[in-house]
Structures are given as C-alpha cells and as structure tokens.
C-alpha cells in the first residue's frame, strides 16, 4: 500500500469513527433535539470523510465527482430533514 492508500485508509477510519460517535450520541443523548444534533454530524463529517477517502482511492476524476455529488445531495437531504423534524418537534409538546 502506497502513501495515497494510507491516507485514504485513515480518512475512511476517521469517517467510520464519526458514524460511531453519531450512533452513540443518538443512543445516549437525553432528548430529540440533541440526538438530531449528533445525527447531522454523522451526515456531514462522517459521510464526508468517507467520501474523501474513497475519492482518493478511486483513481478516477469521474468517480470522485460522483462521490462528491452523493455527499452534497446527502447533506442537503439530511439538513432539510433535520430542520423539519426539529421544527415539528418544537411545535409539539
């Protein structure tokens, strides 16, 4: 494994750690809002680091761009979802 693959592997593992942190947050935080907070960290950083590592590994610009697109779409969807859920939850007792 050359240097590029090492960097990619580290990024992947870091991303997976963020996923883990998000899951822990979701299980341990006291209420829905803080859990949402943990959840969005997963979407942003966890998936982002994962995508970055995979993009480095892919060796093709087209694949890297597609991965980036997936990440951007996932963030837009997740941010919208988190806002909607938080908004709805705040208006209900």
């Amino acid at each position: 494994m050359n240097a590029l693959e090492w960097i990619a592997a580290i990024l992947l593992i870091a991303g997976a750690l963020f996923f883990f942190a998000g899951t822990v947050g979701m299980l341990r935080f006291p209420d829905a809002f803080s859990r949402l907070h943990a959840l969005t960290k997963v979407d942003n950083l966890g998936l982002g680091l994962l995508v970055l590592g995979l993009a480095l590994q892919s060796g093709s610009l087209a694949i890297a761009l597609k991965l980036l697109l997936i990440w951007v779409l996932a963030i837009v969807a997740a941010a919208t979802g988190a806002y909607l859920v938080a908004n709805g939850a705040s208006r209900r007792p």
Partner: protein, 90 residues
C-alpha cells in the same frame, strides 16, 4: 488490502445500524424514531459506497445516489402528514 479495510468498515457501519434500531424501538417521541430512520439512510449510503469499493461493483454508487436522494422523502411525509398526535399511535 484496501478492499478488506472497506469491508471491515462496512461491517462496522452495519453494527452501528443495528445499534440504531434501539432508538426506533424505544422512542419515546415520534421524532426520535424518525430521525433514527434518517440515520439508517445515511449509514446505508456509507455502507453502499464502501461495498462498491470492496466488491468492485461501480453500480453500487448509483444505488447509493438513489438512496441519498430519496431519503428525504420519508422524513418529508412524516413531517407533513404522518406525525402521530400522541407518543403511541393506535
């Protein structure tokens, strides 16, 4: 080697998914359950991307694309219409 790393991380993410099920089961509010489903979607995208690398199947990235796009649909339906009035629906 890289394939093994991707596969191992995919297993790890799957364990996260299994753990996330607890939040769906426990709740207590509908918001809690729904945001777990959202996490499932995102983790699913992650697993798919890792499997695309491990199984050397580029088509899985397209599957991840579809999943990422449509994850918002269930949440939107929940917020707009499907939000139960009380914590435990009938």
């Amino acid at each position: 080697m890289m394939q093994n790393i991707c596969l191992a991380l995919a297993v790890f993410l799957l364990l996260n998914v299994a753990a996330g099920l607890v939040r769906i089961m426990r709740g207590p509010t509908p918001a809690d359950r729904m945001l777990s489903a959202q996490l499932f979607g995102t983790t699913g995208v992650g697993v798919l991307l890792l499997l695309a690398e491990a199984m050397r199947t580029p088509a899985l990235r397209d599957v991840a694309l579809v999943l990422a796009l449509l994850a918002v649909l269930a949440v939107a339906a929940f917020v707009k219409r499907g939000w139960p009035d009380e914590a435990g629906g009938r």
